[in-house]
Symmetry: C2
Subunit: 109 residues, 2 copies
């Protein structure tokens, strides 16, 4: 499959900032393994002020389906719930308590 690039954004609660950073320096290996199984690669998260941006590449053919299936794996669900508890909604996206997907408006190989 051709590589697809995803950008996503969320905000970090001040009181969870250090917790989130420490956990992302040492993500549970089982979670990383499941990401690799669904063909996610080259995944970075960046932080500035309380804003976070995630960038990842995906080489499958059903991103939403693969992500939803992965989220149902108990250890992934446990991890995700701990991380969602660190988030504040992105501006104008208060109905979404986790990452919001962004639109790619430029690409240079």
């Amino acid at each position: 499959m051709a590589t697809q690039r995803y950008g996503m954004a969320v905000r970090l609660k001040d009181e969870k900032r250090e917790y989130y950073i420490e956990n992302h320096a040492n993500v549970w290996p089982e979670v990383l393994e499941e990401l690799k199984k669904i063909n996610v690669k080259n995944y970075s998260i960046f932080l500035k002020e309380d804003f976070m941006f995630g960038y990842l590449e995906y080489e499958g053919d059903n991103f939403d389906g693969d992500m939803a299936t992965m989220q149902k794996i108990p250890i992934v669900e446990k991890w995700t719930n701990l991380m969602i508890d660190c988030f504040n909604p992105f501006p104008n996206n208060e109905e979404n308590n986790s990452w919001v997907m962004m639109d790619q408006i430029f690409y240079m190989e």
Copy 2:
């Protein structure tokens, strides 16, 4: 050189939104060539609300120096000035009228 990954953020003026998007669907080829010359690759820009996130990879050994040198090339400077005019400062970074660099807090190959 090993690949280095950079994330950067800025906000887009509402009245310049369409202009910026249209120009980034069709960036001046001379600007893209200069980026490639300094070993920038896999460069994406994402937009959500008025927030923009840029992700790029760099394979040189002096990112700040290479970027500063490139910015002095007249056609690049002209492009950059047009684009900076589209930006609002990132929250808490009002002294910077262009992209602010973010901290990478996670990476998975």
